[in-house]
Symmetry: C2
Subunit: 525 residues, 2 copies
Amino acid sequence: MTAPSAPLLIRMHANDNVAIVANDGGLHAGTALPDGLVLREHVPQGHKVALVDLVAGDAVRRYDVPIGFAHEDLPAGSWVHERRLKMPEARGLEDLPLATRQVELPPLEGYTFEGFRNPDGSVGTRNLLAITTTVQCVAGVLEHAVKRIRAELLPQYPNVDDVVGLEHGYGCGVAIDAPDAVIPIRTLRHISLNPNFGGEVMVVSLGCEKLQPERLLPPGVIPLVDERNVADIGNNAGPGLDVVTLQEHDGFGPMIDTIMARAELHLERLNARRRETVPASELVVGVQCGGSDAFSGVTANPAVGYCADLLVRAGATVMFSETTEVRDGVAQLTARAATPEIAQAVIREMAWYDEYLQRGSVDRSANTTPGNKKGGLSNIVEKAMGSIVKSGSAPISGVLSPGEKLNGRKGLIYAATPASDFICGTLQLAAGMNLHVFTTGRGTPYGLAEVPVIKVATRSDLARRWHDLMDLNAGRIADGEASIEDMGWELFRLMLEVASGRRKTWAEQHRLHNALVLFNPAPVT
Amino acid sequence: MTAPSAPLLIRMHANDNVAIVANDGGLHAGTALPDGLVLREHVPQGHKVALVDLVAGDAVRRYDVPIGFAHEDLPAGSWVHERRLKMPEARGLEDLPLATRQVELPPLEGYTFEGFRNPDGSVGTRNLLAITTTVQCVAGVLEHAVKRIRAELLPQYPNVDDVVGLEHGYGCGVAIDAPDAVIPIRTLRHISLNPNFGGEVMVVSLGCEKLQPERLLPPGVIPLVDERNVADIGNNAGPGLDVVTLQEHDGFGPMIDTIMARAELHLERLNARRRETVPASELVVGVQCGGSDAFSGVTANPAVGYCADLLVRAGATVMFSETTEVRDGVAQLTARAATPEIAQAVIREMAWYDEYLQRGSVDRSANTTPGNKKGGLSNIVEKAMGSIVKSGSAPISGVLSPGEKLNGRKGLIYAATPASDFICGTLQLAAGMNLHVFTTGRGTPYGLAEVPVIKVATRSDLARRWHDLMDLNAGRIADGEASIEDMGWELFRLMLEVASGRRKTWAEQHRLHNALVLFNPAPVT
Ligand SMILES: [Ca+2]
Ligand SMILES: [Ca+2]
Ligand SMILES: [Ca+2]
Ligand SMILES: [Ca+2]
Ligand SMILES: [Ca+2]
């Protein structure tokens, strides 16, 4: 498990004129590399070394693209870091290649997992009672009720994994008729319908909020409504929608009583469900990276990309996201789109986001973090090239706007979301993800209550230190112990184990639950 | 406690041509009122009745201002509701009266409460260990640690009321250098310094996030740093800032261990503190309304306004907020400003908010809710007139931009915030509030972990039904059982009891804690 002690550089493409240092602790000035290059200064782990003499203005190439231009002369063996590079302009959104590069992947058959089949045909990887909220006002009451449900009711329903209050900061005090309000509203709607909730929808509403239950979940959006009719629905709701309206109750005690009584009806139905063998094509995997370093784009993300291809070959659904992290690779995405229409949808999402950032007087370069730079990522272009490899090589077969639902779409999907870990995760939940894969180089304890999160370390050092948080160590690729293909297969098999409930992720074991954080580009009032 | 059975109308000003129905259940068509007026149709409780024959285009006056113009002829006895009114345009921000109306209020002496005196001179009403977070990424780990601190450590420190994790959705994946990012950053900074936390600042950081600890709490912002030096600070932090950086830990177990060990140092110091008698001038009261109805502006808000005057007379600080709810009363506010500079600051905040809403293609009218309209509030103008009375009659002695801190400012302060209950509460916490007063007509179980929230019902019916959630019943004013002055004094005395810890609010008893919801007008990335 220790990194090789011999100096090790990783170059991503034969045309690159920089490579990154793989060794733990970096490499000292004077270190001689196998090909005769001698380091002119100390280069930290994950950071770039000039492989040839660069003169001021030269393009610095990684992943076979110019990630920047040298500010000064950088002789071979120099440390190439963010202050020595000028960032390229963003690629314009005109004259992009549309569906020009098509890869045919061979089908992959025979893989299955044990999942919970839902009435609408989707499959859950967990069996959760989720309680939807229309507004933050009810969060205190719901949190109290959820604690009691977990302590008093859940033990009687052993086939139900947990109860989750879907709390959020939206629902009132917002400009609900603003053009962009559609994003948070459909996000909340679609999260309620996530496959891990078994089609049981239960809503806690205040009563006077802007986001009324019938606006959040209008008649028709919940499939198979007849089964879910319950005796005493709130008078705000359409037929079949189970709403507990706090303002219709005579105080706190009765509110809790009603929520618990209603919860029990849903728990009974959920408890009757059993896992069954389903094809791997029922996986709906959201991939993202967070706390990225230069190894993200070298180890974990390529392994995820390889695994994404396996999933697509198996007929499953894979979403990649994080608009500001793929913006600089837009030409790759439009070329890989399965049709010109899909390419246009990619462009539409990028254009929308460019404009959204501009409204706030920033651009895509606002994405990078102090940790990214410490970890060797000089700028958003380099970060994007390492992020986009999570999408593998399959054709892009669909595009979702933020908060939209997949509705059964298969293959590789570009789900446009901010790169923010918790906002991206929230939007992928809304899209219908039943399994989340998260790669990290700097390390994050990220987890969700709604869906298992498999965390993949980019470096062995992190995997070793965070042995009780990281589910897979892709650092073994840099250590020379495993190939990208090995690791992609290992991740694929781990996914089937986790999806089947045979294995719990570390985040599940510690119950690490990040908040739902909505993307609301519209004003609050 | 029952409402009088005789028909009862409430008119706010002698010049008004409408009044509201006070009776529970409203009044039926044909009801004869004491002055001979006969209702032409059923008018629900809280809704308006035309007192004279109005013809189409006539101004409908309430609070002595035109709250709208009749769309159609409305003979005396008609129900005057929102679909029968055209809303007036917003008052322009030019040619406003500046500091023209000054009221001299007599001092009020001799009132005290028992509070926790802080090193910086501020006074807490509760003694809480608050753990600041830089980023949502750490929320799962912190939640786990807080549960263990509460269960395992808190019983050993009986003078400490509780431990609170200051979780939020900000900190990374945001455009942190955008012009408007100053708002969420200073909000979080100032919340950490709230008087109820005893000057103990403990931060949990991930490590690679955008909002680094030294940016959140740069050297110098925490008073009396010397006392708080601890042995082993995170290497991201300036001297004296107690930071636990998760990425510096070898896994989940050690993270929890460190957080608990650090918490204990703070608990020891907090536990040594004792309440002492302090003048009422140490109260810092944030007032707001939520779930408003037509009684808000008739009972609870005028009582709060009377109490606000008592507080100002006692030398205390009172903040009123909710920009979209005072926008239509801007001329009242600028007239009441203590100086022309303060009036200009009011105008500056209104102009900023106008522009902010316009960026999202909406205006102040986006404020009103379905519940407001059901409760009888026709539009934002009428709602604003009923909201603004919470500020009483004192001169406005200062203005805070969103997230700014009072820093000892006294008197009546306009703290500009959105009207959203949870966002307003979060910003008033940042300003330094040590007591929160919340009036509600439709009813909300709102509560905060950080500060006691006194909830005031606008109607006896709500107070009766929500007997275990409402701390005071201002509906007695409409019932003819108490005057506005009586109720203002009752609230004032209740505040001193609650501030002293002798009485717990209902929200405290049930531990109803709404989330911190930040105002972030800048983009996410
Ligand atoms: Ca990322
Ligand atoms: Ca991310
Ligand atoms: Ca209000
Ligand atoms: Ca409010
Ligand atoms: Ca929580």
